[in-house]
């Protein structure tokens, strides 16, 4: 894959100048790092190492990490093993449904390079081609200590503002989408509207849109959120009538 070299505007670069705001940002980042809700997407054997990490032996909760059930509530997406192409679609959807800031941790070698499934026709080899992975925890499988170590590493990175993979996904969406399309075909789309989100939150970069997003928009079914129509008695004869 060709590396695209775009100057990336990190959040540190546009840090606000107001000292109070800086304190506030600092506080929020601190809290983010101390409160991580994780969604463990148990794709493979790595999942077996998570229960020990959560329960009495290692107790992730003392770091403020607790499991959550739906992507909406979660901050961290744990990919615990190989991702088949079919699974990857779900993983991407789940990732896109998470609220930013969000972080992806790839656990096990399979997520790094395909691992023992390197030769499989049906697995995605490198997770970071499709999603912005903030942290890999390599091993086959990594022990709970390694998982916890990885978590601590991520906490530090969040604290310092280095863990900004989620911004990268918005800024270079076209590139990620291109890779996804390469794998899933040209009609690939998720119900989530990443471009709209990027522009809404002012996260769009030069790489957000490109040839792949244009392709997406060609075959995409419209996904505008439903506007509320307050207009009373609007279009009675033309539209309302035809739908009774």
């Amino acid at each position: 894959m060709k590396e695209i070299d775009i100057p990336i505007e990190t959040s540190a670069a546009k840090r606000r100048t107001n000292p109070l705001a800086r304190v506030f940002d600092e506080l929020v980042r601190f809290c983010r790092s101390r409160s991580m809700f994780m969604l463990h997407y148990c794709t493979g054997c790595g999942a077996i190492e998570l229960p020990p990490a959560m329960t009495s032996r290692f107790d992730m909760e003392r770091l403020g990490i607790q499991p959550m059930v739906t992507p909406r509530q979660a901050d961290i997406l744990l990919i615990t093993g190989y991702v088949s192409i079919k699974t990857l679609k779900r993983v991407i959807l789940t990732y896109e449904q998470m609220g930013s800031p969000k972080y992806v941790i790839g656990i096990c070698s399979c997520t790094v390079n395909g691992g023992m499934y390197w030769q499989s026709y049906a697995t995605a080899k490198q997770l970071d081609q499709y999603l912005p992975v903030d942290l890999y925890i390599a091993g086959c499988m990594p022990r709970p200590e390694a998982v916890l170590e990885g978590m601590r590493k991520l906490m530090d990175r969040i604290r310092s503002g280095e863990a900004d993979g989620w911004e990268d996904y918005y800024r270079r969406y076209d590139w990620y989408l291109g890779n996804q399309q390469h794998l899933f075909g040209d009609d690939w789309q998720t119900p989530a509207d990443v471009i709209g989100e990027a522009s809404h939150y002012d996260l769009a970069g030069p790489g957000t849109e490109g040839e792949h997003t244009r392709l997406l928009q060609q075959c995409q079914k419209p996904l505008e959120p439903q506007q509320t129509f307050f207009q009373i008695g609007g279009s009675l004869e033309k539209k309302g009538e035809s739908h009774e």
């Binding site: 506080l27 101390r34 403020g64 909406r72 609220g99 800031p101």
Partner: protein, 299 residues
């Protein structure tokens, strides 16, 4: 009472409730951790969670009712706190009374239900359906308790109820005079807090936390705030009805935390009932105990 003091109370009461509630959430998680031989979260963990959630960059909304629902959920409890007298502060408790408080406490649930409804997620709707069913289950013993207490003290004014109890010392407490009702009240409390074994409407592995399924960011944060209020309100209400309210803040807090600790402890020792099992349980034992207690009280 001058209007300034009243206004100050109206501001302070929810604030205190929130702070105490944060510690109750902490206690909840710590009790769970202890029972599972874990260390548990750090002291400020509930606050971290809430600040993080409010500070999320993207906040996914499903429409204006989703927003208003959260506002109602938090706001309703903020209002309910002012109807609940604490040591030194009565707020507007004498303007509403017990029945009003019980009904105002339904407003947050209603708001949440509406907000979840607009999320268009069947898991959420199922959760709400189950939560309302649970309400039907635990409210039956609960209103028996409310009736018994109101009958015994001859008033629904919480300020008076507390004053009467305190005038009689420890032996004047509702729990001493109405032990059966106090037990039934504990059952209802367990259901009201939605903790195991009565948390079928959350059921994370089955319906993906039900009402919370589509809640992200500050929406979830709002629910966390609501949980603080909910624990506090339930605890204080029970203390006011049965344990003589608060003579001073120290005793008051001890009592409230002690009361809330009971359902917390029970929660982590039990698995989960199905909805119909819950209704059957709630309509059988606590109701029987409550009615028996009521018979004692009224004769």
């Amino acid at each position: 009472m001058s209007i300034q003091i009243l206004l100050m109370e109206l501001v302070l009461m929810p604030l205190v409730a929130f702070v105490v509630g944060l510690f109750m959430v902490l206690m909840l998680r710590r009790i769970g951790a202890k029972l599972q031989r874990r260390v548990g979260p750090p002291m400020m963990q509930p606050l971290y969670d809430i600040v993080k959630l409010y500070g999320k960059k993207t906040q996914i909304s499903h429409g204006w009712m989703h927003d208003i629902g959260i506002i109602m959920a938090v706001g309703g409890y903020v209002a309910a706190e002012t109807l609940l007298p604490v040591p030194g502060m009565d707020g507007i408790a004498d303007k509403g009374g017990l029945v009003t408080l019980v009904y105002v406490m339904m407003i947050p649930s209603l708001g949440l239900a509406l907000g979840v409804g607009q999320c268009a997620n069947p898991n959420g709707s199922i959760g709400i359906a189950r939560a309302l069913t649970a309400m039907l289950a635990y409210d039956v013993p609960f209103v028996i308790v409310v009736f018994g207490v109101a009958w015994y003290f001859g008033t629904t004014n919480l300020v008076d109820i507390i004053a009467i109890q305190q005038a009689g010392g420890v032996s004047g407490w509702g729990a001493i005079a109405m032990p059966l009702l106090a037990i039934a009240g504990l059952f209802a409390l367990q259901g009201m807090l939605g903790k195991q074994p009565f948390e079928i409407y959350i059921a994370p592995a089955e319906i993906a936390t039900g009402p919370m399924v589509e809640m992200s960011g500050k929406y979830l944060g709002g629910l966390f705030v609501m949980q603080c209020f909910q624990l506090y309100t339930a605890g204080v209400l029970y203390v006011s009805l049965f344990l003589g309210g608060g003579e001073n803040w120290l005793f008051f807090l001890i009592k409230v935390f002690a009361v809330v600790a009971i359902p917390m402890t029970v929660a982590f020792l039990f698995p989960r009932y199905k909805t119909e099992q819950m209704i059957r349980l709630m309509w059988k034992w606590p109701v029987m105990i409550g009615l028996l207690g009521l018979a004692f009280v009224m004769h």
